[in-house]
């Protein structure tokens, strides 16, 4: 196979690859080797992977190939190579959660989502890099600096950094991330891929290292919306090992995917799209995306969520305090084994006054009511996924020397992705343009709880009407 042919195969969608395997036009072994060769060639400069499972992936692919050849039952991901954030337990494979503290942690069983992806026939290529313990703000990544495939001097986003990079650079067909307050959507945004945060409770958290019990959720990162629907189909549903998973039946996420947006009512969140914090190029691209959706038949109008710009601070008071609880033992016994940025964030969270957390919890309920109220008037809400395109890596590495810097580095950007987390609604990030410097810009669509079908349907309609998803990074 020529390099060009191999690259074309690597950039194919999950749905296409699964079809090629099923039709015996591509062998799962060949497919695994295509991705492993790309990882070998590109990952040293991108830092997407912490662990690459070369032998195990080829062995699993050989088994998948034998099943195809013997006419066995094929799952929806049969023979398709994927990778997962190193936050999910994998039996017999180190799960570091991006920290030296857990570098020797080898779980004895798979997380529920890993087991489901395996049962669907997926081939696990490896474990992906992340900000330490899935918190943002890591300054020195213990397992290598993750880099943006569109410009390696720029931040790929986090916390599921490697999950975004690996999908954008075709170092896997699809990946799994975890989104507490934007950790799937932020890397999807800055790496120019699709990232889906499912409704909280739709996907099991069992075997995923926790940050905040009321917001943590696994979600797929993919190159197409159709792939996001397929990946969600595989991982969604109740799990007796996670009592917080919903008992609602899981719908067929592909059934209405191509129904278009005609008749849908979409509200543009004024504060996040047209506010002063939003970069001009981002505002322009997202406004153009809204007009495109209108052109496709949706009824689009502005809507106001006055509390939404407080979302970042509310989120950090709640999720960081939860995280501080998770980390108290190590903060007391292994403080210097944390990255400096992680340690200082967790120390800060440990000292938040209880009254402030309680106020934040009540403000969350008000914000949630505001979001759900808007979703009673609109089928979807629309806004940028991030207020700016990927910043330089160096911008996030310097120590903080003033309180004004904290607001810029933490609260502002989180106010774009945390509303969906605080309101327990599904949200998708998808490419909607590029800056003049060639960095991706991302559109976010937020839906009603458990209405992923409408979120996916609108995202698919937009994706089909544009060519952003077909662009490849210059790696």
């Amino acid at each position: 196979m020529t390099l060009t042919a191999a690259d074309d195969l690597a950039f194919s969608s999950v749905v296409e690859l699964a079809g090629l395997v099923r039709a015996r036009r591509v062998s799962p072994v060949e497919l695994a080797q295509v991705y492993l060769a790309r990882i070998e060639r590109l990952d040293a400069k991108l830092g997407a992977y912490i662990t690459v499972l070369r032998e195990a992936a080829v062995a699993a692919a050989r088994q998948a190939e034998a099943t195809v050849m013997h006419g066995g039952t094929l799952g929806p991901l049969h023979g398709v190579p994927y990778a997962v954030k190193d936050q999910f337990d994998t039996a017999g494979v180190a799960t570091t959660v991006g920290s030296r503290i857990l570098e020797d942690n080898v779980p004895t069983e798979d997380a529920t989502v890993i087991a489901r992806l395996g049962a669907a026939g997926g081939i696990l290529l490896g474990k992906l890099n992340l900000t330490e313990f899935a918190l943002g703000g890591t300054r020195r990544f213990p397992f290598g600096q993750p880099r943006n495939p569109w410009n390696p001097d720029h931040d790929p986003g986090g916390s599921s950094s490697g999950s975004g990079i690996a999908v954008a650079a075709a170092l896997c067909a699809a990946s799994l991330g975890e989104d507490t307050g934007g950790s799937v959507r932020s890397p999807a945004s800055w790496c120019g891929v699709v990232g889906l945060r499912p409704t909280w409770g739709r996907v099991s958290r069992h075997g995923s290292f926790p940050l905040s019990w009321s917001m943590d959720t696994a979600g797929p990162l993919t190159r197409t919306v159709e792939d996001a629907a397929l990946m969600l189909q595989v991982i969604a549903g109740p799990d007796p090992r996670d009592p917080l998973t919903s008992r609602r039946p899981v719908p067929d996420y592909s059934a209405a995917l191509n129904n278009g947006v005609r008749g849908l009512r979409i509200g543009i969140i004024r504060e996040l799209t047209f506010g002063a914090e939003t970069d001009g190029e981002v505002r322009e691209a997202v406004s153009a995306a809204a007009r495109r959706l209108e052109g496709l038949g949706a009824a689009v109008e502005e809507t106001s969520l006055p509390l939404v710009l407080l979302a970042g601070a509310i989120f950090m008071a709640l999720a960081d305090a939860d995280g501080a609880g998770v980390h108290q033992h190590w903060l007391r016994t292994r403080a210097m084994d944390y990255d400096e940025g992680t340690r200082r964030r967790l120390l800060t969270a440990s000292l938040i006054p209880a009254a402030a957390c309680q106020q934040a919890a009540r403000a969350r309920a008000l914000l949630r009511a505001q979001i759900h109220g808007a979703l009673a008037r609109h089928d979807l809400l629309l806004c940028p996924t991030a207020h700016q395109a990927a910043p330089p890596i160096a911008a996030g590495q310097a120590p903080i020397t003033s309180r004004a810097e904290v607001a810029g580095r933490f609260f502002t950007r989180r106010s774009y992705v945390t509303p969906a987390a605080l309101a327990a609604t599904p949200a998708i990030a998808l490419p909607c343009g590029f800056t003049r410097a060639g960095l991706p810009i991302s559109l976010q669509l937020i839906g009603r709880p458990f209405d992923e079908p409408t979120v996916l349907r609108a995202a698919r309609a937009y994706e089909q009407a544009t060519d952003w998803a077909r662009r490849r990074p210059p790696v």
């Binding site: 919903s246 008071a317 800060t348 106020q359 403000a363 020397t401 309180r403 327990a424």
Partner: protein, 63 residues
């Protein structure tokens, strides 16, 4: 709440048994003051009447 000083933050950390370096204290002070500033507007909201809500809305009954 007024602005916290480094000495106060260092003392709070020590009181709850968290080991911190001087550089940690300097940055944690900025972070904590910034967060409390950012949460300041919440005091203007009608929080006293907020009722708790389930995170999973309208969950069907267990079988």
């Amino acid at each position: 709440m007024g602005e916290l000083t480094r000495e106060q933050v260092g003392a709070m950390a020590a009181a709850v048994g968290l080991p911190v370096t001087l550089d940690d204290v300097a940055e944690v002070t900025h972070r904590l003051n910034a967060l409390l500033d950012a949460l300041g507007p919440l005091a203007e909201l009608p929080l006293a009447t907020v009722e708790p809500v389930p995170v999973l809305p309208d969950e069907p009954p267990a079988p």
